[in-house]
Amino acid sequence: MTRRNRIAVGVAIAALGVLAGSAVADVEQVRLKIDGMSCPFCIHNMEKRVKKIEGVEPKGIESILKTGITTIPWKGGQSFSPASLRQAVADSGFTLRTIDVVVKGVARMERVEDVHVLKIVDPGTKQAFLLAPDARADRRQVWDSLMARSKGSESARLVRVQGRVEPDAKGGSDGSWHLVLTGWAPVQFGAQVDLEVQGFVCENCSTGTMQGLEGLDDVIHAQANHQTGRVLVWTASASPDTDALRTKIEALGFTVTHAHVDRSDEHADVWIN
């Protein structure tokens, strides 16, 4: 594929996206653009409402009045609802213009009915942000452009994307939103550790495990599925300390029955931005 074609595909990628209802891969940050906050006293009104939304990390919220941008850190593994954010800003008496998100997850191409869709997924819980190709774009070409310089097969890729959440043609009343992709980049990692864990009984178990593992210095990202007992951990080092991962999980009250390490040179990633 020529450079011009790659750029064209990149532009097409930037116009893509469908975000259905509540979704989570791993939302890292949400940025709201709000109009009408005329002074510092207004900020508290808005932040108080936003802090009540499930998933919001309340301590790190920052609002800059000049730009109208409110940056909200998001708790790992928590669901994301644009409708809740929109209602919170409305209840505070201001006008919400845009919602932008930064999401980290694994990119996968899947076939849904007769359409290939690109997803950013949490492979543990299977929850995902859907980035559906524009109908006019060659879906296969989009996927090929992502894999153009990678080695190996169409396997999972850890990626960080940012995009603008916009309601679909129905105005978002049914919970459907588009994610207009504005940028993405691979998350560089040294190794992927695949663990089998026993003892999960609910979503709280998997969420607590993910948060506990991501607190370790070497861990870039962790995802867990309480139904299958599968935990995936991406580490910065190519030789992760699996004993430390095991110790952490067992300290949370669970049992690790199996651990397998895949090093990144086995799934080399070279991305187009």
Binding site: K33, C39, F41
Partner: protein
């Protein structure tokens, strides 16, 4: 039994204590503003005022010093609909009778003011610019105090418009109070205010936890159907944070034509607003 002088002073007290309906900044100090707390939001405003006035008509020669406290609760039912309750208290009222050389000091609770505010118009054009219009509906409710309270529930109706543009903000309001008492005591009152505020610092809001200084100048007018009228010019200053506002003002008479109540020489006001 309430004397005519005392009745006039009660009226004066009521006017002086007719605190503005505070909501959010950029809110004037002595006027209303078309800004509201969030749904479920609560703002408490505490004002203290010191008034010097005199009354030298109808053979009387009185000097009056009045210290008042007014507590206002503002609660957002929705983002558009707010209820307000103001409880004014005369902490100390000292009347010096220069004709007899005697003085009298008392205190009490004046009429409560209950208002509902509904936003009819909003245009948030930029991150910090907005224009809004609210209607106001409420009443003054007797407190039952023997000296400082009237005996009637007096409806209030009005509207307020506010525009914030960059470092500037303008508010204008017009209210009418229907006095349901009969006879000479049944004097209706119109209140009109215009306020301009300018953000002294910062020039731009560039940090996540901003604070700001504002300078204000207000024009606060009263007209009553007994032909009494007065206009105050009221400079002030505000310090605004995310959670609270501190403010100070002085009200100076620019025009007074009063035959039925004392003339204020000046009013000094200090207040703080806190939101929860």
């Amino acid at each position: 039994m309430r004397t005519q002088t005392t009745a006039a002073l009660v009226a004066a007290l009521a006017v002086v204590l007719a605190a503005s309906a505070p909501a959010r900044a950029q809110a004037p100090i002595n006027s209303n503003v078309a800004l509201q707390p969030a749904k479920g939001g609560l703002i408490i405003r505490q004002q203290f005022r010191y008034t010097r006035a005199d009354f030298d008509k109808n053979g009387a020669n009185l000097d009056i010093q009045l210290v008042t406290s007014a507590t206002t609760l503002v609660y957002g039912i929705t983002d558009r609909f707010t209820v307000l309750l103001t409880t004014p208290v005369a902490l100390s009222r000292r009347i010096q009778n220069n004709s007899t050389g005697t003085s009298d000091t008392d205190s009490g609770v004046a009429d409560l003011t209950a208002l509902a505010k509904l936003r009819l118009y909003r245009n948030d054009s930029t991150p910090t610019n907005t224009a809004r219009f609210d209607v106001l509906l409420g009443a003054e409710i007797p407190s039952g105090d023997d000296v400082f309270s009237s005996d009637t529930v007096d409806p209030i109706v009005g509207g307020v418009y506010t525009i914030a543009y960059g470092r500037h903000a303008l508010s204008a309001d017009l209210l009418w109070k229907f006095n349901t008492a009969g006879g000479a005591a049944g004097t209706d009152a119109m209140r009109y205010d215009a306020a301009y505020s300018f953000r002294l610092a910062p020039a731009e809001y560039l940090t996540p936890n901003p604070t700001a200084w504002f300078a204000l100048i207000e024009l606060n007018g009263r007209y009553e159907t007994n032909a009494d009228s007065e206009v105050f010019l009221s400079p002030g200053v505000q310090y605004v944070t995310k959670r609270w506002i501190g403010e100070a003002t002085i009200q100076l008479p620019a025009w007074q034509n009063l035959d039925h109540r004392p003339e204020a020489e000046y009013v000094i006001g200090l207040s703080v607003r806190v939101q929860f």
